[in-house]
């Protein structure tokens, strides 16, 4: 469209809807520069991109998928074998799901490290946290829809943990499953969730999330991280947007390449979507059954708890712990008072590292890394696995700590140290996981108390 015609159309619309302020806003929207790399600012966009791919591929899949006892599995088999490019659409949907979550987690951790959550952007963080929950819900509900063996058992295991919720646990379990056990009724409910409830929620919350960002602008770097010569921000339209588009194009290309090279995923337990056999509720559970990779840490944590603890049921305590951890994560903007004052707050960077180490160790252990010799049958060796995973976690932890120490000049390592201590005690010294955790938490609390006393001027927590 030529400039002149474009101008005429805009004028026509402007007369009716008063678009000028909007256009001016878009023209002036900027991405903050003069601090850390712009790389981090792209991650939200890539998450949105993969989500959009999910919507498109999901709608296409909906045209052939039929939920039902005799049709769920069969329609997907038909789709992937007889429908032209059906294999492509399905594989794109599966790959993009995982890539979206990877991107989401990277986005979440980068906003944590860069403290984008500090006031006035607390609700952006909270809405993002909700989106994280919604994304996990998508993954969990979508997993069951092919109605194959793997999905059936993974869902049985996954929904089982809901029993641990106090008071309403059993009721919640039955409502989720549409009965006592996982059955086709469970699939119908998950289908409704996956195709209507969660998409509407996601779009609503994404809308809010983006609205907040537009209203407040993207988070600038912290004062102490800004360069001496503050540069003007990069224009969003067209500069940043073009870069965004380029990155999305590269993501799409990477996605279809992955689809071609590994149509069923990397074939790691928890990241494998070969259709396999149809679900048979009467068959015994699959050896080596595992939920999807992003749930593995909860699954492993549940396994570490004994049947009873402090007079409560083990799974209940485990779920309570997970809830506490997630809620803490959700309210980080209110906990980090130093960042609120634009002061360096390495404690919360440390929290992020500790979270990664904690979740990473549990995930590796859930995969029995180091516990199975190649081709070995039978149960994996938990102790050997704990050792191997401990080494990996220690290695990663050491590397990250070194980088933080040297590059970012952080000096606060209490939480990541506690995580590494737990991993060391459990993996290398054979202490029980929970006992090691209790010891590490206790020592961390002591360390924090000591640190607080040492810096009385800073009345707020470090």
């Amino acid at each position: 469209m030529s400039q002149a015609r474009r101008g005429r159309v805009l004028d026509w619309l402007d007369e009716r809807y008063g678009l000028r302020p909007l256009l001016d806003f878009l023209k002036h929207k900027e991405v903050p520069r003069g601090g850390h790399s712009l790389v981090w600012y792209y991650l939200g966009g890539t998450t949105l991109f993969f989500f959009t791919v999910q919507i498109f591929s999901g709608v296409l899949l909906l045209m052939y998928y039929q939920p039902g006892e005799a049709t769920s599995y069969e329609s997907i088999r038909y789709l992937t074998t007889k429908v032209p490019f059906g294999w492509l659409i399905r594989s794109v949907h599966c790959w993009s799901a995982h890539l979206m979550i990877v991107s989401l987690v990277a986005h979440m951790f980068s906003t944590l490290m860069l403290k984008a959550y500090r006031p006035p952007r607390e609700l952006t963080w909270v809405s993002g946290f909700l989106l994280f929950a919604v994304a996990l819900g998508f993954g969990f509900s979508g997993y069951l829809l092919p109605w194959n063996e793997l999905a059936f058992f993974a869902t049985s295991v996954g929904t089982d943990s809901v029993k641990g919720v106090p008071l309403i646990g059993q009721w919640l379990l039955e409502v989720m499953r549409g009965g006592q056990d996982v059955s086709i009724n469970t699939l119908y409910r998950f289908f409704a969730l996956h195709v209507v409830v969660l998409p509407l929620s996601a779009i609503a919350i994404i809308g809010l999330h983006l609205l907040f960002i537009q209203r407040q602008g993207m988070a600038p770097p912290m004062v102490h991280q800004r360069h001496a010569t503050a540069r003007q921000g990069l224009k969003f339209f067209p500069d940043f947007f073009l870069r965004d588009l380029l990155l999305w194009l590269l993501c799409l290309t990477a996605l279809v390449t992955l689809v071609f090279l590994m149509p069923y995923g990397p074939r790691i337990p928890g990241i494998d979507w070969e259709l396999g056999k149809k679900a048979n509720p009467l068959a015994p559970a699959y050896p080596g059954i595992k939920p999807e990779w992003y749930f593995l840490w909860i699954y492993q944590l549940l396994k570490e708890f004994p049947p009873h603890l402090f007079g409560l049921e083990g799974p209940q305590v485990a779920l309570a712990l997970v809830t506490v951890l997630l809620l803490t994560w959700a309210v980080v903007p209110w906990l980090d008072r130093r960042a609120a004052r634009e002061q360096p707050s390495p404690a919360f960077n440390d929290l992020g590292v500790a979270a990664l180490l904690f979740i990473g160790f549990l995930t590796l252990k859930a995969w029995d890394i180091g516990g199975l010799r190649p081709g070995q049958a039978g149960l994996p060796d938990a102790a050997a696995s704990a050792r191997a995973c401990a080494f990996i976690a220690l290695g990663a932890g050491a590397a990250v700590t070194l980088l933080r120490f040297v590059l970012a000049r952080h000096r606060w390592f209490v939480l990541s140290g506690a995580a590494l201590l737990q991993v060391t005690l459990h993996g290398l010294a054979g202490v029980g996981y929970l006992a090691a955790g209790a010891i590490s938490v206790a020592l961390a609390a002591v360390a924090v108390a000591v640190l607080r006393r040492r810096t009385p001027r800073e009345a707020a927590a470090p």
Binding site: L60, P84, F85, G86
Partner: protein, 153 residues
């Protein structure tokens, strides 16, 4: 307001070339995405229906003088018995595709949607249908059953 752009436009050839390149690239890219999606959405051609054997129920209806509609692949076929002779025609009216019916009293095949009328050979007698109904072949088997096969075009 920002300072105005430079008054002289940048060399048109280079800027135009890049924009043109974007246009070309976008077209190519869009085609590579649209092609699989379009093929995916195109309905699968079901195999042209083969011979259809009438069920016992349908045979009974024929013997009572009623007409029967059977499916052969995606096609619908109307089978009727008049004066002992079996006839089979395409049941899809050539006007807008409604399913026709047989009116025994008038020995006419009639389409209720827009009052189109066909004779027993499928030729148009009255109404808006532009073309005659396609012919099918209904043959009586040795065991008394009836098999319907596609007639010549």
């Amino acid at each position: 307001m920002t300072a105005p752009d430079r008054t002289e436009p940048p060399p048109p050839t280079r800027r135009g070339f890049i924009d043109w390149l974007i246009g070309l690239g976008f077209t190519g890219w869009f085609a590579s995405v649209a092609y699989p999606v379009v093929r995916y959405l195109a309905p699968l051609s079901s195999s042209a229906g083969g011979a259809v054997r009438l069920s016992a129920e349908d045979l009974a209806k024929l013997d009572r003088g009623q007409f029967v509609i059977v499916r052969s692949g995606e096609a619908r076929v109307i089978v009727l018995q008049v004066d002992g002779a079996l006839r089979a025609l395409d049941a899809r009216c050539t006007h807008e595709g409604c399913t026709v019916q047989f009116v025994p009293g008038e020995r006419v095949v009639w389409c209720a949607c827009h009052n189109g009328r066909f004779d027993l050979e499928g030729r148009v007698l009255a109404g808006p249908p532009p073309r005659p109904l396609g012919k099918w072949i209904a043959a009586r088997e040795a065991d008394g059953g009836v098999v319907v096969t596609r007639g010549k075009a």
